[in-house]
C-alpha cells in the first residue's frame, strides 16, 4: 500500500481522500436523513404507507372465483392446460399402476443398471421396494406420476430455451435475470398465483412444479452447451458446419454428460416440490405427511416421510449414473447391458418390463403384498411417548429437549425478535441501507432500503421481523456449526469419507421431510422449525466450505509448508483466505435454503410470514397469502444480494 502510494504520488492521495469522503459521508447523510424523517413520521409503520396488496389480491381472487366458468381466460387458456395436464397425469399413473409393483421394480432396476451398473440397480430397487414395505406403494406411484409429468413439461420448455441461452449471449443475459429472480423465491410463493389461475389439485400442483423445475432445466441445457470447449465449436465451424449441424453433431453430443447430470437435479427438485404440493390438495406421500403433521401425530407423519426418503433415494440412484459422473472410463468396466447401444437397451428394457407386468397380472399381483408390509406407526408413537417421558426435561448436563427448546426461545429467539420488532421501523430501514452500502455501494443500499419500505407497505412488518429474526438465528447457528465441520471435511480425507455419504443423502431429501423428526423431538413451535432449518442447511453449507478449501491450488499450500508453516498457519494464512470467496458464496446459497425452510416450517408452528402463505393456501385467504409471499421474496432479495456481494467483492481494507 505504502509503496503504491509513493509510486503513484500525490494525485492518488487526493483521489483517495475524495473516494473516502464519498464512501463515508454520503451514506452517513442518507442514513441520518432516514432517521430524522422516520422519527418525525413515528416509530410504528404509518397507516398511509399501504400498498393495498391484500384487498387488491382478494378482489382478483374473488373475480376469478366468479368468472372461472365463462371468461375466456379460463375457458380458452387455463382450463385446456389444466385438462391436458390432468389427462397426462392420469395416463402416466395408469401405466404405472398397470405395470404393477413387479413391473415398476424391474423398470427401476434396469434403468439403474443402465445408468450406474449393478449397484445402482440394487440400491434403487430396494429403496423403491421400501416404499411398498411401509405400505405406501400407491401413494408413491401417485407422487411419481405427477413428478414425471412435471419433469416432461419442464424439459419440453426448458431445453429449447436452454439451447437459445446456450448459443446466444443476449438470450442468456435476459434469461439469467429471470432465472436469478426465480431462484430466490421459496416454493410456497409460487403456489399462490398458481392457485388463483388453476385452482387446486393435480393441474395446480403440476404447474407449480413445472414452474419450479423449468429454471434448472434451462440452466442445465445452457450450461451444458457452454461447457463445450470453444475449440470444438471452432472445429465444427472450420469444417463448414451450418448452425444446425454444429448443434446436432458437435454441441449437443458434447453437452450430453453435463445435461444428464443436470437432469438428476431437475428430477430431484421436481420430486421435492411435488411432495410439498400436497398443500394444494393432491393425494400422495406428501398429503399423508401433511395430515400427520397437522394433527401432530408423529407416527402418521413418520411412515410416509420415510417412504419419501426411500423414493428420493431410489430416484437419485437411478438418475445419477456413475457413468455420467465419471465419464467413459467407468463405462468400459460396466456390464454389457450398460455399455451397449441406447436403442437396443431401450427395447430390452421395455420388453422385460412388459413381460414382468403381464406375468404379474396373470399371478394376480395387483397390490403390494400385505405380507411384506410393516406398519411402523404404532412403534413410532410409542417411541415418541418414550422420548417425551424421558428426554424432555431432566437429562443431566444438556437438560433435555424441552429445556433446550425453552432456553433457545427465551435467551436467543425472543431477544433477537424483540430487538427487531421493538426498534422503530425506520431504524431497520436505515440499518439495512447502511449494511447495503458497506457491502457493495449505493445500488445495493437503495435496493435494501426499498425492500424494507416495501415490506412495511405490505403491512406485514411484525411478521417479517419475526421471520427475519428466525432466519438470522438459523444462519448464525448453521455457520457456526458448518464452518468448523467444513474445515475438518475439507482438510481430512478420513472425515470426508465418513461424512460424504451423509452429505450426499441429505442433498436429495425434500425439505418437507426434515420436519418430521424434529416434531418427534421438539413438538411444535418455533424451535423445531429452527432445528429443522439448521439440519436442512448444514449439509450444503459443510459441503461448500469443504469444497472451497479443496479447490485451493496445491502450489501455494506447498510453498507455505516449505517455508515451515504449521498446519494451522497454513490453514489460516493460505487456505482460508484463498477459499474465502467460495465459502461466502456457499453461505449465500445456504441462506436461500434457510429462508425456504423457515417458510415451510410454518406448518409446524414457526409462525411468521410462512404462516401467512400457509393460511393463504389452505384457507383461501389469498390476499393474506400474497402479502406474506411478496414480503418473503423481498426479504429473500435483500439477504441474497447482500451475502452475494460478500462473496464477489473482495473486502476493502
Amino acid at each position: 500500500m505504502a509503496i503504491a502510494a509513493v509510486a503513484v504520488g500525490t494525485p492518488a492521495v487526493a483521489s483517495d481522500r475524495s473516494v473516502r469522503w464519498r464512501r463515508l459521508v454520503i451514506p452517513t447523510v442518507v442514513v441520518a436523513t432516514i432517521c430524522v424523517v422516520g422519527a418525525w413520521i413515528g416509530d410504528g409503520v404509518p397507516t398511509w404507507l399501504d400498498a393495498r396488496v391484500r384487498p387488491w389480491s382478494d378482489d382478483v381472487y374473488d373475480w376469478t372465483v366468479q368468472n372461472n366458468g365463462d371468461h375466456w381466460l379460463f375457458t380458452r387458456v387455463f382450463e385446456p392446460i389444466a385438462d391436458t395436464l390432468t389427462a397426462t397425469n392420469d395416463a402416466v399413473l395408469w401405466v404405472l399402476r398397470h405395470l404393477r409393483w413387479p413391473g415398476v421394480l424391474t423398470l427401476v432396476a434396469l434403468i439403474g443398471w443402465r445408468t450406474g451398473g449393478a449397484r445402482a440397480a440394487i440400491v434403487g430397487m430396494l429403496a423403491m421396494a421400501g416404499c411398498g414395505v411401509l405400505g405406501f406403494w400407491d401413494e408413491t406411484m401417485v407422487t411419481i406420476a405427477l413428478m414425471l409429468v412435471a419433469v416432461i413439461v419442464a424439459l419440453l420448455i426448458g431445453i429449447p430455451l436452454g439451447i437459445l441461452a446456450g448459443r446466444s449471449d443476449r438470450a442468456e443475459r435476459w434469461l439469467r435475470g429471470v432465472l436469478d429472480t426465480a431462484q430466490v423465491m421459496p416454493a410456497f410463493v409460487y403456489f399462490l398465483p398458481v392457485v388463483v389461475a388453476f385452482g387446486i389439485r393435480v393441474p395446480a400442483a403440476a404447474i407449480a412444479t413445472v414452474v419450479y423445475a423449468t429454471p434448472p432445466a434451462i440452466r442445465l441445457t445452457s450450461h451444458g452447451l457452454r461447457s463445450v470447449p470453444v475449440v470444438a465449436t471452432e472445429v465444427g465451424n472450420s469444417f463448414g458446419c451450418t448452425s444446425r449441424q454444429l448443434l446436432a453433431k458437435v454441441q449437443l453430443p458434447m453437452a450430453r454428460r453435463a445435461m444428464l447430470l443436470g437432469l438428476n437435479q431437475v428430477i430431484m427438485m421436481a420430486f421435492a416440490i411435488v411432495v410439498l404440493a400436497s398443500m394444494l390438495g393432491v393425494a400422495g406421500l406428501g398429503g399423508r405427511v401433511l395430515s400427520g403433521l397437522q394433527r401432530v401425530q408423529v407416527g402418521q407423519a413418520f411412515a410416509p416421510g420415510l417412504a419419501i426418503v426411500f423414493a428420493a433415494v431410489a430416484l437419485d440412484r437411478i438418475t445419477t449414473g456413475e457413468r455420467a459422473k465419471r465419464g467413459d472410463r467407468v463405462r468400459r468396466r460396466m456390464p454389457a447391458f450398460a455399455r451397449g447401444r441406447a436403442h437396443i437397451a431401450t427395447i430390452v428394457t421395455v420388453g422385460l418390463v412388459v413381460a414382468v407386468a403381464i406375468i404379474a397380472a396373470g399371478a394376480g399381483a395387483d397390490d403390494f403384498p400385505s405380507a411384506f408390509t410393516i406398519d411402523i406407526t404404532e412403534p413410532i408413537n410409542d417411541a415418541v411417548r418414550w422420548v417425551n417421558d424421558n428426554f424432555r426435561t431432566g437429562v443431566p448436563v444438556v437438560g433435555g429437549t424441552g429445556s433446550f427448546s425453552d432456553f433457545l426461545t427465551l435467551h436467543v429467539l425472543n431477544p433477537v425478535r424483540d430487538l427487531l420488532v421493538d426498534s422503530p421501523w425506520w431504524a431497520v430501514v436505515a440499518a439495512s441501507f447502511a449494511i447495503g452500502w458497506a457491502s457493495a455501494g449505493w445500488r445495493l443500499a437503495a435496493l435494501c432500503g426499498a425492500c424494507f419500505v416495501g415490506i412495511a407497505a405490505l403491512r406485514t412488518w411484525e411478521l417479517a421481523m419475526d421471520t427475519l429474526s428466525q432466519v438470522l438465528v438459523i444462519i448464525a447457528v448453521s455457520v457456526l456449526l458448518a464452518v468448523p465441520i467444513g474445515i475438518c471435511v475439507g482438510r481430512s480425507n478420513r472425515a470426508e469419507r465418513l461424512l460424504r455419504p451423509l452429505l450426499d443423502a441429505a442433498q436429495v431429501m425434500p425439505a418437507f421431510v426434515y420436519l418430521v423428526p424434529v416434531i418427534f423431538l421438539f413438538n411444535i413451535g418455533r424451535v423445531p422449525g429452527i432445528v429443522a432449518s439448521v439440519i436442512y442447511a448444514l449439509p450444503p453449507c459443510i459441503r461448500l466450505v469443504s469444497l472451497g478449501l479443496r479447490q485451493v491450488p496445491i502450489a501455494p499450500r506447498e510453498a507455505a509448508i516449505s517455508f515451515g508453516a504449521t498446519p494451522r498457519q497454513e490453514l489460516v494464512k493460505v487456505q482460508l483466505p484463498m477459499a474465502a470467496r467460495a465459502i461466502m458464496l456457499g453461505i449465500n446459497q445456504t441462506i436461500l435454503m434457510v429462508l425456504s425452510m423457515v417458510v415451510i416450517a410454518a406448518l409446524i408452528g414457526a409462525g411468521g410470514l410462512g404462516l401467512e402463505t400457509v393460511y393463504g393456501l389452505t384457507k383461501s385467504e389469498i390476499g393474506r397469502g400474497v402479502a406474506g409471499g411478496v414480503s418473503i421474496v423481498l426479504l429473500a432479495v435483500v439477504l441474497d444480494r447482500v451475502t452475494q456481494s460478500w462473496g464477489t467483492h473482495p473486502r476493502r481494507t
Binding site: S238, F239, G240
Partner: protein
C-alpha cells in the same frame, strides 16, 4: 518465392485488422491503435490482435507465421476463414473474397478449400477416430460408405491403420494429432491451416510429426499456413517465415534471410541462439569467383550451391585450403574459407552477400 504480390497466389490478405473489445472499427488506423497494449486496454478496453497485415501465399508454398504467445498468430489464422470476423481488410482464398462472402460461399470455402489442424487437437470425444476423420465429409453430405473408405485411407496415411473404431481418449497426444492431420487431409483441401499443431507434444514426438509434414509435402502439394512459436520448427518447415509481434509482421523472408539478416533487434534476439551454420548455405558466405577467373584450383573439396555451411566445417577444419562452390553445371562460382566460416559462427553480419528483401 519472392515476397512480391502475384495474382496467382492462393491466399491474398490486404490490410487485415482484428481489434477485440467495444466498437472495434474506430480503432483501426486511428492514433489510438499506436498506443501501447496496456494503455489502449485501459482507455478504450480494446485489444489489437492483428494490425495491418498483408500476405500473399503462393500455391504449394509452406508459409510459417512465428511469434511469441499473444502476438496474434491464432487470431490471424482464424481470420482467414472467418472463424473470427476481421475488423477491417480483405482476405481472398483462391480468388474468392472471403471477407465479403455470404453464408453459402463461406461454407463452401470451409468445406471444400481449407482445412485446419488445431493446437489441442480438437478431436470430438464422442466420436470414433474414423468418424472424427470423416467429420468434414459428413458435414459436406458425403454418403456413409464413401466416408468410411476415405477415413480408412487417411488413417492409413498417418500410420494409424486399423484404429478407426477407437476413441480419441485412448490415444496419446502424438497419435491424436495424427488423427487431427488425417481429418484435415480427408477433405482434400487446397489449403491446410495449422495453429501450433505440435506445441502440446513432447520434443521427440514433435520432431516425428515435423518429419511427417515434410513427408506429406513431398506427396501432396497442398498450400500450408503454419503457425508456431518454435523457431527451429519454423526453420525446418517453412519456405517463407513471417515474424509476428504485437499483431504486426516485422519481417517476412526465407529462413536464410531471417537468420542471416534479422530485420530488427527483436528478430535478431529471436534468432540469436540458432546455429546459423545449420540454416545458411555456403553461398551466403562465399567469395565470388568470376567466370573462368583465377584460383579455380586449390580447393580441398567442391560442394554444390545450397550446401549448408555446417556440412563444410569439418573439411575446413582439417584442411588449410578453401572449399569450392559449384553450380548445377559443375562450374566453380565461389569459394569458402576458414575465416568466412568463423565469422559466420561468431555472429558477424553476412547480409551483404544475401539478396535481402530490402528490409534493412
Amino acid at each position: 518465392m519472392g515476397a512480391g504480390a502475384t495474382s496467382d497466389s492462393v491466399i491474398e490478405v490486404r490490410g487485415l485488422w482484428k481489434v477485440f473489445g467495444p466498437r472495434p472499427e474506430r480503432i483501426v488506423g486511428s492514433p489510438s491503435a499506436d498506443l501501447s497494449r496496456r494503455q489502449l486496454e485501459a482507455t478504450t478496453g480494446n485489444v489489437v490482435a492483428v494490425r495491418e497485415v498483408d500476405v500473399d501465399v503462393a500455391p504449394g508454398e509452406a508459409f510459417v507465421v512465428m511469434g511469441l504467445s499473444g502476438s496474434g498468430k491464432s487470431t490471424l489464422v482464424r481470420c482467414l476463414t472467418r472463424l473470427i470476423d476481421p475488423t477491417a481488410g480483405i482476405v481472398r482464398i483462391g480468388g474468392v473474397d472471403v471477407t465479403a462472402a455470404d453464408g453459402e460461399t463461406l461454407l463452401d470455402v470451409r468445406r471444400n478449400r481449407v482445412s485446419m489442424v488445431f493446437q489441442h487437437f480438437g478431436l470430438l470425444p464422442h466420436r470414433s477416430l474414423a468418424d472424427n476423420v470423416a467429420f468434414g465429409l459428413e458435414v459436406r453430405g458425403v454418403d456413409k460408405s464413401r466416408r468410411r473408405a476415405k477415413a480408412e485411407e487417411m488413417l492409413d496415411l498417418v500410420g494409424l491403420a486399423g484404429l478407426g473404431s477407437a476413441r480419441p481418449d485412448q490415444l496419446s497426444g502424438g497419435m491424436q494429432q495424427r488423427v487431427g492431420l488425417a481429418r484435415a487431409l480427408a477433405t482434400e483441401p487446397e489449403i491446410l491451416l495449422f495453429d501450433e499443431p505440435f506445441s502440446a507434444l513432447d520434443p521427440l514426438i514433435r520432431r516425428d510429426m515435423q518429419d511427417e509434414i515434410i513427408r506429406l509435402r513431398s506427396e501432396v502439394s497442398t498450400t500450408m499456413v503454419f503457425i508456431t512459436h518454435d523457431l527451429s520448427e519454423a526453420l525446418r518447415l517453412g519456405d517463407r517465415i513471417a515474424i509476428m509481434r504485437d499483431g504486426r509482421f516485422v519481417q517476412v523472408g526465407t529462413p536464410a534471410e531471417v537468420v542471416g539478416a534479422p530485420a530488427d533487434e527483436y528478430v535478431s534476439n529471436f534468432v540469436r541462439d540458432v546455429s546459423r551454420s545449420h540454416v545458411l548455405a555456403v553461398e551466403s558466405i562465399m567469395t565470388l569467383i568470376g567466370a573462368g577467373g583465377a584460383g579455380t584450383n586449390g580447393f580441398s573439396a567442391r560442394v554444390p550451391l545450397g550446401t549448408k555451411v555446417c556440412d563444410v566445417m569439418s573439411r575446413l577444419a582439417h584442411h588449410d585450403l578453401p572449399v569450392g562452390v559449384i553450380d548445377e553445371d559443375g562450374i566453380v562460382v565461389g569459394s569458402v574459407d576458414r575465416i568466412a566460416a568463423l565469422r559466420l559462427v561468431a555472429g558477424e553480419d553476412v547480409l551483404d552477400v544475401i539478396d535481402g528483401t530490402g528490409d534493412r
